[in-house]
Symmetry: C2
Amino acid sequence: MIEADFLVYHAGQLVTLKGPPGPRRGPISPSSLSILPDGAMAARAGRIVWTGPTDSAAREVGLLPSAAEQDAGGRVVTPGWVDSHTHPVFHGTRQEEFAMRAAGADYEEIAGAGGGILNSVRRTRLATSDQLESTMLLHASNMLRFGTTTLEAKSGYGLDLDSELRSLEAIASVSRSSSQTILATFMGAHEVPEEYRGRPDAAADYLAYLVDTVLPVVKERGLARFVDIFCEKGVFSPEQSRWFLERASAMGFELRMHADEFHDSGGAALAAELGALSADHLLCVSNAGIRALASSATVATLLPGTAFFLGKPYPPARELLDAGAAVALATDFNPGSCFCESMPFMVSLAVCQVGMTIEEALVAATVNGAAALGVADTKGSLEPGKDADFVIWNLDDYRSIAYHLAVPDVEAVYTSAQQAVPRASGRASGDPKTGA
Amino acid sequence: MIEADFLVYHAGQLVTLKGPPGPRRGPISPSSLSILPDGAMAARAGRIVWTGPTDSAAREVGLLPSAAEQDAGGRVVTPGWVDSHTHPVFHGTRQEEFAMRAAGADYEEIAGAGGGILNSVRRTRLATSDQLESTMLLHASNMLRFGTTTLEAKSGYGLDLDSELRSLEAIASVSRSSSQTILATFMGAHEVPEEYRGRPDAAADYLAYLVDTVLPVVKERGLARFVDIFCEKGVFSPEQSRWFLERASAMGFELRMHADEFHDSGGAALAAELGALSADHLLCVSNAGIRALASSATVATLLPGTAFFLGKPYPPARELLDAGAAVALATDFNPGSCFCESMPFMVSLAVCQVGMTIEEALVAATVNGAAALGVADTKGSLEPGKDADFVIWNLDDYRSIAYHLAVPDVEAVYTSAQQAVPRASGRASGDPKTGA
C-alpha cells in the first residue's frame, strides 16, 4: 500500500502526460497525453505518489487519517499550466499605446516615440515596492484563475540597480505568499535605459554596468535563477547578447533569450550554441535557426499572444515541430505587447491560428514549459515524484479546453504548496485555490 | 426632479454612447462614445430616466422610497453587449471536428464527410426539449457572465417542423426566465436536411416545405421575430434565398441573412435590396456588396470569431467602415465554427486583428448590434428612454476592455428586467446578476 494524504478520483480523463524525462519532441498524438479514463491520483505532502484507475485506488492507496479526498465527478483533470515567459512586474498599464496601434501606429514606431518598454520603465522607477508587489500579485492571481500553477517572472522594467532589485524582490515576496511556483528571471537587458542613450556605445556600456554592478548583487541575494536578454535589431546585437550571456552563465545563472522576434538576427542559433534553456518569440526565425534548435536541448518557446496582440505574423510552429524542435507555449504577459494572463487562450490560439494540434499545444503548455524552465523533473505532468499541481475542468473531453474559445471552464485549481501546508487532522485540504 | 427607483453613481467613465437614433456610421472617434466622467445614471422600472454628472444627481433625481443605489467606485460603466448573431440551441458539442481541423482537415471537407451542421442536426433531433433548453440556458448564462444583456438566438439545428419548433420553444422558455432580452430567429434554412438530399431540387423543395408547413406555425405561435437563411455556395443560392426571404417578409417576419461567408455570391447586395436588418459574416463580400450595404439601412454584421476559429481570412471591416456601412460585431456562438460566448473577446479580436479601432468595436458591439436587431430604440446605449442594461467593469479606462485580452474584467452585470421586478421596499435591487 502507498500512503497518501490526498486523493482525487473519478477524473473522467486524467491527462497525465506521463512520458520520458525532459521535453517532448517528434510526433505528438493523442496517445502522447497518456490519458487514464476514470483515473485517480494520490499525493503525499504535495508530491504525487500514485496514479491509476479509480477502481484500483482502494486496493493500492492507503489514506492517512488526515487525508482529504476529492471526487472529480467525471471531469477532465490536467497538470497545471507552466507559463514559462511572463513580465508581470511593472507600474501602470499601456492601453493608450494599444489604442494608438488600433488607430494605425506600429509597435516599433510607438517605442521610437518614447512609448514602449521605456514608458513602463519611467513609471516603474517611480513606483513603490508595495505597488510593484501588488501588480505582480494581481497578475499572478489572474494566471491562477486560468490554471497556471508554475510561472516564470522577469524583471526588466527598472533598468537600474535599485529598481531591478525591487522588481525581483516583488517577485520573491509574491512567490513566498503564493501557492504557485514562481521562478525569477533577471532581465535588466530588456532595453537600453534613457540615461545611456546618446553614448556611442550605449548598449555595450549598459550591459557592462549590468555585469559589473547589478548581476553580482542579484546573485548574492539569490533573487534570480535565470538571466534573459532582448537580442533584437535596435536593442542588443547578437555579439552583445553573447558577451552578456556568457558572463551571466559564468556567474551561475541559467540562460534564456528573446530571439528573432521582429527580425532574424541569428538569435535562435546563438541561444542553442550557448546552451540556453529556451529561445523565445521566434516570429522571424530562419531555417538555420530552426535546425539549430531542433538539434539542441534549447526549447523553442512560442508566444503567439504577442503576434495576435501586435498584428504580426505568427511564429512558424509547424516548421519547428516538424523539424523536431521541442516547442513550449507561454503568454508573454506584459503591459505593452500582450496584456493577457490566460494560458487556455494561448492553447486555443495555437490550435486555431498557429497550426498546432490540440495535443501539441497541451504538451507545449505543460511538460515543455517545465523543460524550458529546467523543472521538468517536478512540474508539467501528473506522474509519481512530481508536484501535485493540477486543474479540474468543468469538461468531459480535454479537447474542449482548446475548443471553448476565450471561455475557460476551470472548475478548481490545486497546487502542491497548498497541500504541503500542515493542516488540522480530518479537515479537507487541497481546497480549490479558486473556482471559476 | 425626476423620480427614480435606481441610481448608479461615481462611474469613473459612464460610456453612454448617446447619439442619433439608429446605427452609427461614418467617422467614429472617442467622442462618439459620449463619455461622462464621474457619471451617474437613474432608472425607473428598468428604464433609464436620467444621466449626468454624479454631483448633479442629488439635485436632479428624486429617489423613491424603495430605490436602490450603487456606487460604481470610479469604475467604467458601459451598456450591456448586444450579441446580434448566435446559434445557442443544439445538442452535443463538436470538439472532435475541431480536433480534425487542427490536424489539417478543412471545415467544408468535414461538412462534406457528414460532419458540420448535419452532425448537430442528427443529435438535436434526438434531444429532449429539456436538453435543448438546458443547452440554451447554459450558453446564455455564459454570455451574461461576459456582459451580454441582449442576444439574438437562432434555431436551425432541427430542420424539420417538430425539432425547429422545439428549438424555438427552448429559446422562448429561457427568454421568459432569463433577465436577458432574447430575440428569436427562425433559421430552418440553415442547411438542407439529409432526408432531402439526392432529390434533383433538394434545396428548393426544402425551402418550399419551410414556407408551406413550418413558417405558418412559427408565425401563428409567435415563436420568432426574424427569419434568416444561409445563402452560400452548396447550401442555398441567391435566387433561392430571395424566393424564401420574400415569402417570409410577406408573412410579417423581419429578415436577416448569412451572406458571402465562404464565397461571394452577391449575398450582401441581396440583403440590402430586400431590406434585411442585417447581412452577416461577409468574409468574402465584394466591393459591390460593400457599396450596396453602405448605401442601405442593412447593418453589416461581422463575426470575426468564426474566421479566427476556422483559420479563414478576417472580414473586410476597414473597407466596410470606410465606405460608410454600419458595422456590428457579434459572436456567432455555435458548436461548429465558433464555440465562444464572449463579446469582450470579439472586441479585442476586432481591434488586434481585424483593423477596427477600440471605439468602432464598442459601437459595433452595442448600438449597432441593437440596430441589427431592430431594437435601437431601447437597447445599445445609456440614454433616457432606453432600458437600463449595463455592465460595471473593474477598470478605470474603457480602452482596457479591449486591451485586457481574453480576460474580461466584468465586475457586475445589470439588466432592466431585474430592476423591473417588484421588490420589498427598502431592499437593495439591481443586484449584480453575476460577478467575475
